[in-house]
Amino acid sequence: MAKGDPGGTTRSRRAAPRSKKGAAGDPELVQLLTPEGERIDSATGPDGTEYRVDFTDEEYRGLYRDLVLVRKLDAEATALQRQGELGLWASLLGQEAAQVGSGRALRAQDMAFPTYREHGVLYCRGIDPIMPLGLFRGVDQGGWDPNEFKFNMYTIVIGAQTLHATGYAMGITMDGKVGTDDGEAAIAYFGDGATSQGDVNEAFVWASVFNAPLVFFCQNNQYAISEPLERQTRVPLYQRAAGFGFPGVRVDGNDVLASYAVTRTALDNARHGQGPSLIEAYTYRMGAHTTSDDPTRYRIASEVESWQAKDPIIRVRAFLEKQQIADATFFAEVDEQARRESVHLRERVLSMPDPEPVTMFDNVYPNGSPLLDEQRAQFNSYMESFEGSAH
């Protein structure tokens, strides 16, 4: 079993007395690429499942490219917020591997239900990265088509989407789309804080009793705004799955290979009719919760530094260099692509037009409402009353 901490042994600490840190932080995680860039051939999950990946050089380079692009676009969005171009931004910095690994493990037919931070998964689903910026800029409410891209809307209310994913997955079963290789699965993203929500626990119950083809993907980034993991749980989150009757596994969320392997296996199990599972991607949010947050109030620099050493991109690069899968030209080319795409993103954000005010009355009801029609008409004539008047 691969251990995240150097010197990890097979000794179980589950029976150990509860320390302040509790058992919640024990790193019993599946890892296929160490922070130093060493490949681990295979890793075993708590239920004995073997995880391995077998990528071509091209695929390894592709994952690296994804990680770098996603980080760069995220940084650009953070900068745009700082310059007043976005109302808010929830950065994924530090969580790229969990998102790209799981996002690339999705097949075309799988449906994802994200929170507000899943820009990396969104990117993997082939959605224009400008889409979430419209939401955070306030010009729209997220402009992509959930059905076309099989990536639902961002969900701000913590945990609500886990139930939507469960219902959707039940629908997959009702449609008879499980049991084969081209079967469908759903994946629900949420954070460590969300595991305290009733909805998430209800989703666990429902998914379990209906054997829903669903993967619960928890990015444990150690904090819910300011509250540390210990305020949400006293047991490792992945272990909760057992109580609901499905497997749980903790993966090194900063390891894109392991995140991919674990998610691909869980999705394939789901699509083959083996029901739900919980993945706890053990990771760290390197930046602020959102741009409104000041993380120095609740966490110490040394903790951040210790996680810097586990950076998800540096380790892939070290691996690619060591194995001579990529050379300096390739890395320079990826950096240049990222730079170009972020410049392009910036230009497009700055030219995003504000919506026409009257559009606020659109799409409240599929069938419309006379009350709303009346208000829209009143609003229109009120606005028209200003026309031609001196500004």
């Binding site: 609500a160 469960t166 909805d199 429902w206």
Partner: protein, 329 residues
């Protein structure tokens, strides 16, 4: 014409059955809706005939019922969710208000949530606490939801099918104290033409005062009108049927003729449907009004112990008293 005498509950059951037959995407879900047929037996026999994939006994989790139904709706199903009692809808309130109601808007019209949330509501059955509430204003206040309620078996049969066929998410309030009341039901009644889902209906024409009511209070108002007629007053009774949107045109038309209006509902008065109606009627019918719009409602207390609910609930006398007062101006 296939006309049968049915209770309101059985009419709902028959309407649900019809909806399940008509559209294979319709599914019913809720606590005890399967084998038991629901605690009020509204889904009686449906699981037996349509199977446990179409009529689903859910875990005991209201947010889960609504939240998973959202996902099913995104997947293309038309979930009809039963909330067992009015007082138990609150655990699902977040999903209803923040998710069901807003999904269409937030997705820019790309997603629809064609869901019906059935809630037995109101008092008058001598129940224990949390079993007799009137939460309609919470939902009617929420943009993106539509709220309807039936008052008789014919409407129950037609409206439940109309609600299920609608792409709008609809809170469907069932007047539980009227479940056992019988009436004629035309089983071939057309779903769209005669009475669109969001229309009010004059259930007793009159010339002197307009009574505006819905759900369980319609019958109370009809009784009041009968009593008033003996005193020579002709009360017009309007069954609003739709609480959001309100069929205001029907209300205005009537009040402009009668010059007097009384709104009657079981829910507390504070910030309730009656306040909305009074405000709108005042704006629109100001020069026709002979007196202020009055309200007869439950009190602004939690629903009281069953032994005093007779005093809490608007009854014939309180309605007639309000009618008298409209003549006092």
């Amino acid at each position: 014409m296939a006309t049968e005498t049915l209770t309101l509950g059985k009419a709902l059951n028959t309407g649900l059955r019809r909806a399940l037959e008509t559209d294979p995407k319709v599914i019913i879900m809720g606590e005890d809706v399967g084998k038991l047929g629901g605690v009020f037996r509204i889904t009686d026999g449906l699981q037996k005939d349509f199977g446990d994939q179409r009529v689903i006994d859910t875990p005991l989790a209201e947010s889960g019922i609504i939240g998973t139904a959202v996902g099913l709706a995104i997947r293309g199903y038309r979930p009809v969710c039963e909330i067992q009692f009015d007082g138990f809808v609150y655990p699902a309130y977040d999903q209803i208000v923040s998710q069901v109601a807003k999904m269409h808007y937030r997705s820019g019209g790309r997603l629809s949530i064609p869901m019906v949330i059935r809630i037995p509501f109101g008092g008058g059955i001598g129940a224990v606490e949390h079993h007799s509430e009137s939460p309609e204003a919470y939902f009617a206040h929420t943009a993106g939801l539509k709220v309807v309620t039936c008052s008789n078996p014919q409407d129950a049969y037609v409206m439940i099918q109309q609600a299920i066929a609608s792409d709008d998410p609809i809170v469907f309030l069932e007047p539980k104290r009227r479940y056992w009341e019988k009436g004629q039901v035309d089983l071939d009644a057309p779903l769209s033409d005669a009475y669109p889902l969001h229309s009010a209906r004059v259930v007793r024409p009159g010339t002197d005062v307009t009574l505006l009511a819905y759900g369980p209070m319609v019958r109370t108002c009809l009784e009041a009108a009968t009593a008033a007629a003996e005193d020579g007053r002709e009360l017009e009774v309007i069954d609003l049927r739709s609480l959001s949107p309100l069929d205001l045109a029907a209300a205005y038309e009537s009040v402009k003729r009668t010059g007097r209006a009384v709104v009657v509902h079981e829910a507390p008065s504070n910030i309730g449907l009656g306040a909305e109606l009074a405000a709108r009627i005042t704006e629109e019918c100001f020069y026709s009004l002979e007196s202020p719009v009055l309200r007869v409602t439950g009190f602004d207390t939690p629903y009281p112990a069953a032994r005093v609910e007779e005093e809490y609930l608007p009854d014939l006398d309180r309605v007639l008293d309000a009618v008298d007062r409209t003549f006092g101006w």
